[in-house]
Symmetry: C7
Subunit: 89 residues, 7 copies
Amino acid sequence: MKVKPLGERLLIKPIVEEKKTAGGIVLPDAAKEKPMKAQIVEVGKLPEDCPLKVGDKVIFNKYSGTEIKIDEEDYIIIDLNDILAKIEE
Amino acid sequence: MKVKPLGERLLIKPIVEEKKTAGGIVLPDAAKEKPMKAQIVEVGKLPEDCPLKVGDKVIFNKYSGTEIKIDEEDYIIIDLNDILAKIEE
Amino acid sequence: MKVKPLGERLLIKPIVEEKKTAGGIVLPDAAKEKPMKAQIVEVGKLPEDCPLKVGDKVIFNKYSGTEIKIDEEDYIIIDLNDILAKIEE
Amino acid sequence: MKVKPLGERLLIKPIVEEKKTAGGIVLPDAAKEKPMKAQIVEVGKLPEDCPLKVGDKVIFNKYSGTEIKIDEEDYIIIDLNDILAKIEE
Amino acid sequence: MKVKPLGERLLIKPIVEEKKTAGGIVLPDAAKEKPMKAQIVEVGKLPEDCPLKVGDKVIFNKYSGTEIKIDEEDYIIIDLNDILAKIEE
Amino acid sequence: MKVKPLGERLLIKPIVEEKKTAGGIVLPDAAKEKPMKAQIVEVGKLPEDCPLKVGDKVIFNKYSGTEIKIDEEDYIIIDLNDILAKIEE
Amino acid sequence: MKVKPLGERLLIKPIVEEKKTAGGIVLPDAAKEKPMKAQIVEVGKLPEDCPLKVGDKVIFNKYSGTEIKIDEEDYIIIDLNDILAKIEE
């Protein structure tokens, strides 16, 4: 199932980072903060001067967007306005 | 009874997916989450560059739109702005 | 008494449908949901490309508009924006 | 004391209708609903295509406007936008 | 101390009217309703077609504006938009 | 440390007036109302026709702006829109 | 990991000042007020006439922006509109 965002929206895959306590114990998902990093999976109709493309990693407003499942995986459909920054490795 | 949406609205038929527990038991409607997938049944006056047409499957904001019954079936009249993405099978 | 809506408003007469329980008992008005269907009785100054005219049946946002009585009958003065769709019999 | 509304406002005199119970008892003012009918007493600077003039009877949004007393009589200064319809006897 | 309002604002001096009970007892200030009448003391930069000038008496929205004391006297700095009407004696 | 406001903002120094009770007792700061008078210390990029300049005394909306300390002194960074009037001695 | 803000946003590093009680005791972080001073680390697409650049120190609205960690250090991604002033040493 391919999901094509409409208008100035993007489909992103949140990056859940392994969190360890000081003692090295990996925190369960629930105890982790909502992820703020994600990878762009699909884009809608973005402005021409927008520097984002499929595959880029971004920082996004973690309280925004609509969570959806595609083939049992978690994704978010989010407005361009809620993408705060691009991560340049 | 044919319902023709006005302005930038669409008439959609929610797609309710069968939900099974891990043990394979089909969940009753009430226990299911509000559907987010739907099929477009009728469109109002959409912008020319809008990629949506009758028959397309979409993902929509499940808390938006107005629920109506037509011949005892559930439909939703929804603003174009609350259609998040198009599903390309 | 003739009531002529001002601006982009319409005067509509709600269509209250008889509701029967499974056992065929007609529900009293109070138990019924607020009607969503109505007939257009009078129009104000609507945009030229608006497809609505006196006599048309419509679906409207049941929480909108202002209820008024004219000669002891119930009517609603409502903004064009709260008319969701036109019913084509 | 003459009161000249400013901008797109009108000075209206609410029409309080005598209300009788089924048994014909005239309801005291307090038991009555807020009036929705009024007569236009004075107008501010209304748009040229506005069909309203002093003396016209109108239906207005009963929760809008500012109540004032002029020579012990009740009036309301109200925005044009809160006048819903014109009554044509 | 002269106070010159900025932008589309006015400096007004509320007119507190003596209120007498039916029995002729003058009500203390506290028991009185907030005044709605005032005289214009100073104006800021008003639109050219605005009919108001220093000395005019007006009716204003009693919940608007900012109360200030100048030489122990009460004044209000208020937006033009909250002046509802002009009083023509 | 010199603070240069950005955009249509000003840096102002509130003028705290000595308040005496009827009996002549100087009120402690806490008992005083928030000051509404201030002097302009620095301006950002104000519109050309704006009559305000460094050194002017003004009346401002006491619930607006952001309080900051510069060298242990209290200042406020405030939007031009929240400056209500200019004081002309 | 390099973070490039999108649109009219900036990446800033809050400046946490050592706070001492009257008796000279350094306050723990928690007891301190949220910082209002910061240094600009990276800028997005700012207007041409904007006087801010990487390295500048600024005063910002401490309740705005999104806190993020980069290599265990605290940063904030903030809208240009929430930068109140530039500090000129």
